[in-house]
């Protein structure tokens, strides 16, 4: 089942399933967030926003607004 990256709790390993259309979409993809990519949510900033994720090799921080553009599913 797919859910938004913004709702994932730290520590969980997920896989990108879909990126919503927006002006930011190509940028997100260029940063390595393409469909099928494995991500791990590492930690959140003190007020829960932004979040930091491990994009297989580097740590990316993004605001919840941006994270909500990314749909993920559980990694099997």
């Amino acid at each position: 089942m797919s859910k938004s990256l913004s709702s994932i709790i730290p520590g969980q390993l997920v896989k990108v399933s879909f990126i919503k259309d927006s002006a930011l979409k190509p940028k997100l993809m260029e940063m390595g967030l393409i469909i099928g990519k494995e991500l791990r949510v590492l930690f959140k900033a003190p007020f829960g926003d932004p979040i930091a994720i491990d994009v297989h090799g580097y740590v990316l921080s993004l605001r919840l607004d941006e994270a909500s553009l990314i749909e993920v599913e559980d990694f099997k």
Binding site: A23, L24, K25, P26, K27, L28, M29, E30, M31, G32, I34, I35, L42, F43, A45, P46, F47, G48, D49, P50, A52, V55, H56, G57, Y58, V59, L60, S61, L62, R63, D65, E66
Partner: protein, 651 residues
């Protein structure tokens, strides 16, 4: 050869730049845009090469105004800066994302060198790349491994440059590769997807990945540094430490520079034959230059600390923990560094906003940055505090004068934040702000890189502020030296006779004459003209003159008062000036400088945009006069209203 240096952010691109060019670097402009072009010249076996440093990007397609230049140059072989060779710096420990930019450039068939940098970190992370295989895959390019931070691999890189690669007959990485238009987002998405699939396949082949450690050191550090409580406490502690250093230690070199320039202009005045030229030199140009140089210690120290924090990777965490707090105010986590810098000087602060990708957040940061109390306000604050605030203790242990100084700084900070929140409602923007920021792994800072950053910032400040402060100093000097008709000469003569009858020493006589001449000069007239406007704030025309002259730089206020009241300047303590100011009476016999007018002046200086150099930099950064004029307008309004309220409550 013209060589372009490209790469993702945080790949050690600047280390590679410094390794090749050392201190021989210059700042120029790309034609038609305001992005700084950093370039350096170096030679290999007597052949000169120019290395141009491009902004760090993840792709050749621009996602911010700064990045536009990469696309503009690389997509147009007729561009003046089109390179003969591109060096792409990649982080070896994160090759997948780094190869994205490289393969885009490779597919443009521009001769290229792929530098696998940070080889040491890749080893630590247990990622080993089979370079031979990688080289085979990119036969049109040369692959080199370096650890530029410590200068390893320089020889290999130089050899690669010497190979003079110009082979264009090779197969592109992505078959059917073509360059999309900037507006063609769908095409770019398609390209990104395809490219990453190919890169993923390649990585499987070339990366020998050992077992990754469960939790890296960076991750453990992050548990403390972004902690909801410790994170902020540590950041507050670091800030406190930095400002403690700046204010405690920078005063020594600053006092020294001050006295050197004061002595030098005094010496010039006494040594050169009397005349206009001597005056221009000793009263206009030399103090003008001194007014710029005196700020260098603070700016250098501040950027020393900021660049250590940046090099170590900590600054990205500051952005991370501050972003949510700054956003309701229309600012971003990235506004923190510009605002911090503005406590030393708003000029580097405004320039540091370039990293803010969102237009609106950047504008608001620029507009409020000069409200942070900068170092040029310190001499004004200290003089006025010593003048009207009693040296008493509050609650038995807090020094009242110190408390007022702290209050002025807080007032600046709080008003900056409040104004930001108001501007957020007023400025319209269709763009939606975003923050996609890489949190680089923690590293020990390299002193060479720190030194070069400090040097660059000091240079930028000196050139930008220097030009304008110097020019205004000369204009103000002329306005203070010349006056309409021969009134000035008459006043000077009259004062001379009067002074002689009083049997005064030569120096004291000269000061009285200078003061009398100033009153009749153009600037004196201007001061009197604005008197009706500033009277409601508790100021007279003499203060008016000082307000006008301090447009060059705020601290000129103190020197101007000294000239007007014919008091010899005595450096830091201003004892004589303060005594003289205390004696100054209005026509009704009440002192001019009392608590009400003094506090009113302090408030005025907290808010007023008394700095032409900052205005010029804001104009350059926003590319129009609209924003600096708006900024000057609202700051002047705040200053006037604030000072008026303070004066009327206290009197």
């Amino acid at each position: 050869m013209r060589i372009a240096l490209l790469g993702n952010p945080n790949t050690g691109k600047s280390s590679v730049f410094n390794m090749l060019t050392g201190l021989r670097q210059q700042i120029g402009n790309f034609p038609g845009i305001t992005v700084d072009k950093k370039f350096g010249v170096f030679s290999i076996e007597k052949e000169e090469h120019t290395l141009i440093d491009f902004p760090g990007t993840y792709s050749i397609y621009p996602r911010s105004k700064d990045e536009q230049v990469v696309y503009d140059v690389l997509s147009n072989p007729n561009h003046a800066d089109y390179p003969d060779l591109v060096i792409v710096v990649a982080d070896e420990s994160n090759l997948e994302r780094n190869l994205f930019l490289f393969t885009q450039i490779y597919d443009l068939k521009i001769p290229s060198i792929l530098v696998l940098n940070m080889a040491d970190i890749a080893r630590k992370k247990g990622k080993i790349v089979d370079i031979e295989k990688l080289q085979k895959r990119f036969e049109g390019s040369v692959v080199v491994e370096t650890t530029a931070r410590v200068g390893l691999g320089k020889d290999r890189l130089i050899q690669a440059i010497q190979l003079n690669i110009s082979k264009k007959e090779y197969e592109t990485f992505q078959l059917k590769a073509h360059l999309c238009e900037v507006e063609d987002l769908k095409g770019q998405e398609h390209e990104a997807n395809e490219r990453y699939i190919l890169i993923r396949e390649l990585i499987e082949e070339i990366e020998v990945e050992k077992n990754q450690k469960k939790e890296s050191q960076s991750n453990r550090l992050d548990r403390i540094l972004v902690h909801p409580i410790f994170g902020y406490l540590i950041f507050a502690g670091i800030l406190l430490l930095i400002f403690q250093f700046i204010f405690a230690f920078a005063t020594y070199p600053m006092d020294f520079i001050d006295s050197v320039f004061a002595n030098f202009s005094g010496w010039l005045g006494n040594t050169l034959p009397e005349g206009l030229f001597s005056d221009l030199l000793s009263q206009g140009i030399v103090p003008g230059i001194g007014g710029v140089v005196v700020f260098i210690p603070q700016i250098a120290l501040l950027f020393f600390f900021i660049s250590i924090l940046e090099e170590s990777g900590y600054l990205a965490r500051v952005v991370f923990i501050m972003d949510r707090l700054m956003r309701p105010l229309g600012l971003s986590g990235k506004s923190v560094v510009p605002l911090m810098s503005s406590v030393a000087c708003a000029i580097p602060g405004v320039m540091a906003t370039r990293t803010i990708s969102d237009w609106k957040e950047r504008m608001i940061t620029i507009l409020v940055a000069p409200l942070m109390s900068c170092s040029a306000r310190i001499p004004v604050y200290t003089l006025l505090i010593a003048l009207v605030i009693p040296n008493e203790k509050v609650l038995g242990f807090i020094n009242l004068q110190g408390l007022v100084l702290f209050g002025l700084y807080s007032l600046g900070l709080i008003s900056a934040l409040v104004i930001a929140a108001i501007l957020k409602l007023l400025i319209n923007s269709k763009e939606k702000g975003f923050l996609l920021l890489e949190l680089p792994s923690y590293k020990t800072p390299r002193w060479g890189n720190v030194g070069i950053t400090v040097w660059e910032k000091v240079k930028v400040f000196t050139l930008n502020a220097g030009k304008i402060i110097l020019a205004i100093s000369i204009v103000l000097w002329a306005m203070a030296t010349f006056g309409p008709s021969d009134k000035m000469e008459q006043a000077a003569k009259a004062t001379k006779i009067e002074a002689e009858s009083l049997n005064l020493g030569k120096e004291e006589k000269d000061r009285l004459v200078a003061s009398a001449k100033l009153e009749q000069s153009y600037i004196g007239i201007l001061g009197k003209t604005i008197e009706p406007v500033i009277q409601p704030l508790g100021y007279d025309w003499k203060i008016g003159i000082s307000l006008i002259t301090s447009f060059a730089a705020r601290e000129v206020f103190v020197g101007s008062l000294a000239t007007i009241y014919a008091v010899q300047e005595d450096g830091g303590s201003n004892k004589r000036l303060i005594e003289r100011l205390r004696d100054e009476k209005r026509s009704d016999g009440k002192p001019v400088y009392n608590l009400a007018s003094g506090v009113s002046l302090m408030i005025f200086y907290v808010f007023a945009m008394q700095c032409m150099a900052t205005l010029a930099v804001v104009k350059r950064e926003t590319k129009s006069w609209k924003w600096p004029l708006i900024q000057m307008g609202f700051m002047a309004t705040l200053a006037y209203v604030g000072a008026w309220i303070a004066f009327h409550i206290l009197s």
